[in-house]
């Protein structure tokens, strides 16, 4: 068998070129340009870009809102890994193993529906639920006699970001569960039958059969969830706009506010670089940890 002929190689490049060009123009160039802009002080109202070196990064280090935003993102990621990945996995296993017939499809749909709702709609919906006067959450606490637990959930610095994170879990757990369901449906039934013949319980089958065989999907779900947690913006902006007193900002909303409210484009570019480094590092780390460990029976 001979290698690819020269004309074949050229035609291959020709086919690949449009995609590469699009990536270069819309992904790689903006990343590099953003890195350059992060070294400048620049306002949209002035054509002057002033080179400031690493000053924007030094300002980031000293900015308490940047650190609280980073903490909020980390909290978002940690909670999402537990509730979306962990919860989604358990939910998928329960739906696949314990629920039968039409109910399975109905429940799957019910859990998945929030994922297709617009973030703006869910944000507004939860604004009503968290309303301190007429909201369902405080109403429920009232009914349960837990008056002391009532809060202005989105209006207090201590509770705002957690209220948003909770909404996000509600919205996304069904989506991750469906990913796991797809992975679980690809597991041959014989493996479970063999496990049950050997005396395994359902819980043991979950840990010995299901969990190892959805490892790749778990990795993918974690990458999606962690990256998503560091890119989160819309739900925060819709529900609190980063308030009160900047307590619920994430890196995304702080970037947006710095650029489009405070007119600090260079500073916002520096935040974008940090977000890029975090999400890229998290993805590389997770890929590295999951490398070559795919389980086959």
């Amino acid at each position: 068998m001979t290698g690819t002929t020269r004309p074949g190689r050229w035609s291959m490049l020709l086919w690949v070129a449009p995609a590469v060009l699009l990536l270069v123009v819309f992904v790689y160039y903006p990343v590099v340009e953003n890195l350059r802009l992060s070294l400048y002080r620049w306002s949209p109202f002035s054509p002057r870009e002033v080179f400031v070196g690493l000053d924007n990064y030094a300002a980031l280090r000293a900015d308490p809102v940047f650190w609280s935003s980073l903490f909020n993102n980390a909290a978002y990621a940690a909670v999402s890994v537990v509730f979306q990945v962990g919860g989604g996995l358990v939910l998928a296993a329960v739906l696949e193993e314990l629920v039968r017939g039409r109910l399975k499809g109905i429940l799957r749909t019910i859990y998945f529906v929030p994922a297709v709702l617009s973030l703006t709609i869910t944000g507004l919906l939860f604004q009503f639920m968290y309303n301190p006067q007429i909201g369902l959450v405080n109403g429920l606490l009232d009914v349960l006699g837990l008056d002391a637990w009532k809060h202005s959930w989105l209006g207090e610095s201590a509770t705002a970001i957690w209220a948003i994170i909770a909404m996000s879990q509600w919205q996304s757990v069904g989506y991750v569960a469906v990913l796991f369901i797809v992975a679980m449906q690809r597991i041959p039934r014989e493996l479970y039958e063999a496990a049950y013949i050997d005396g395994a319980s359902r819980v043991q089958a979950f840990f010995k059969v299901t969990l190892p065989l959805v490892r790749e999907m778990t990795l993918l779900a974690m990458i999606i969830t962690v990256s998503g947690a560091f890119l989160v913006m819309n739900e925060v902006w819709v529900m609190t706009a980063g308030g009160p007193n900047n307590a619920s900002h994430t890196l995304g909303t702080w970037l947006y506010k710095s650029a489009f409210f405070n007119d600090q484009m260079g500073y916002a570019a520096a935040i974008a670089v940090v977000i890029f480094l975090i999400t890229m590092s998290a993805s590389i780390l997770q890929l590295f940890l999951g490398r070559g460990k795919a389980v086959q029976y």
Binding site: S43, S152, N245, F260, M265
Partner: protein
């Protein structure tokens, strides 16, 4: 009248993306039309009449311009579309491309367009520091020599003054706004409460309502600006006007006058005795719904929102027929000037790089004719800076009363969150929110504001 300072207000921050939708209106008139009777119906496509000089006597204009406004709301956009269509009908060789944005979206879009040097020929801008940014960047045309004679004479002087910097005019005002305490006259009468004339009387009125299980003032501060509007009014009450003017200028701001602390203390007192608790978690609109439903006795509101309190604007008859308004009363021990009223005009700037300045100016002239201003008042329920545009014939009584009240005010205290440097504005926005949720006290906020003012001063140097 003099403006203490000027600029925009931050409202309804729902939009999170750079809004880039442009509504292209390519409607072109039949070319033969000159003028037609104004329509009082929103969404009408008939041409408003123009009885003003300049609209029909200008030399034949030819070309295409772009026009960016922030009134994309379906309730408001048709008015601007109708005026543009009417203008193009009178000028068959002119095309005006409308770019309609939301209140939030326009802030993003203007920054993107300014940064890329692609501003439209005519674009919206709030008075005050927002406009000053364009002026400093050379992105706003000096209109001093253009808005003269009959055109200039149409406007309430304070409205033009809000767009005047260093003696030069940079904007053409389109709306006029002021902040008032709307109140439910039936609840006041039923509970024997008189309209308060001092801050203490207001607090006592709040106590009366509170004791009877009625929420005194419906208040939602989810995005921070509603509380800032209180501060916009309270600062002039406690701080002498000259000091205030110097402090609102980034180059000289220090905020060391003890009046700033007193104003914050007054707000804290109003909050504890009058306002909805947990307000940071409630939107302004949700609070307004409480007032509309008759569950709250008062609601601090902009005059441009008055329309929402009328039956035509969707209010229940019980409320629509039983409301009035008063200015937030001053404290008896006011050390500042009690004649200033919170409010500002909104308006349009002209891109100095426009290839068709003649059309841009002629269209702005047309947009602000008395007839078009009357149509705006009738269609949208807003107030116009064009004198004589609001009468008992074309709007509800409270709007007419507002115009009269604004005329008696000594000056306009422009929105604090936009009249000051952005660092100072943020210190106030965040600080007052922190006061409401109990994480900061007056002294903390004053210290934050002073630090922000020092930072702004250093930056301006």
């Amino acid at each position: 009248m003099t403006a203490i300072a000027g600029t925009s207000r931050h409202r309804r921050t729902l939009a999170c993306l750079i809004a880039a939708t442009a509504i292209i209106v390519g409607a072109c008139g039949d070319g033969g039309a000159t003028t037609a009777p104004a329509s009082a119906e929103p969404g009408a496509t008939t041409q408003p009449a123009s009885a003003e000089p300049g609209a029909t006597t200008a030399p034949e204009l030819e070309g295409s311009i772009s026009f960016l406004h922030k009134y994309s709301d379906p309730r408001y956009a048709p008015y601007f579309e109708a005026v543009v269509a009417a203008y193009m009908a009178e000028h068959p060789k002119v095309q005006i491309e409308i770019q309609a944005e939301s209140d939030q979206g326009v802030k993003d879009k203007l920054r993107v367009l300014a940064a890329s040097n692609t501003l439209p020929d005519i674009y919206f801008s709030w008075a005050g520091d927002f406009t000053k940014k364009f002026v400093r960047g050379g992105l706003a045309k000096d209109l001093t020599g253009d808005v003269t004679g009959d055109w200039a004479a149409r406007f309430t002087p304070a409205a033009l003054e809000a767009y005047t910097y260093d003696g030069k005019l940079y904007g053409v005002p389109i709306t006029l706004d002021a902040k008032y305490m709307a109140y439910n006259t039936k609840l006041f009468a039923d509970n024997g409460v008189a309209v308060p004339t001092t801050l203490d009387e207001l607090l006592a009125a709040c106590d009366t309502f509170e004791a009877k299980g009625i929420e005194p003032i419906a208040f939602g501060n989810q995005y921070g600006w509603p509380a800032i509007h209180f501060m916009t009014q309270l600062n002039p009450y406690y701080v002498p006007a000259d000091t205030l003017q110097a402090d609102y200028d980034p180059a000289t701001g220090a905020f060391t006058d003890p009046g700033y602390g007193k104003a914050l203390d007054a707000f804290a007192e109003i909050n504890s005795r009058c306002l909805t608790q947990g307000a940071n978690g409630i939107s302004h609109e949700a609070a307004q719904a409480s007032f509309l439903a008759g569950k709250s006795a008062m609601h601090y509101i902009e005059a441009v929102e008055f329309f929402a309190l009328t039956e035509k604007g969707g209010a229940p008859a019980d409320l629509a027929n039983n409301w009035d308004f008063f200015m937030l009363p001053a404290p008896a021990d006011a050390t500042g000037d009690t004649g200033y009223l919170t409010g500002a005009p909104d308006g349009f700037l002209v891109n100095p790089a426009s290839e068709h300045l003649d059309i841009a100016l002629d269209f702005l002239d047309y947009l602000t004719t008395l007839d078009n201003a009357k149509k705006m008042v009738a269609d949208l329920g807003w107030l116009s800076p064009v004198q004589g545009s609001a009468t008992a014939d074309n709007t509800f009584p409270q709007n007419v009363q507002t115009i009269e009240d604004i005329a008696t005010a000594k000056g306009m205290a422009i929105w604090l969150d936009t009249v000051t440097h952005i660092d100072v504005a943020n210190a106030y926005l965040n600080g007052v929110q922190a006061m409401l949720d109990g994480t900061k006290g007056t002294a903390d906020v004053v210290a934050d504001v002073q630090a922000a003012a020092a930072s702004a001063k250093a930056a301006s140097e």
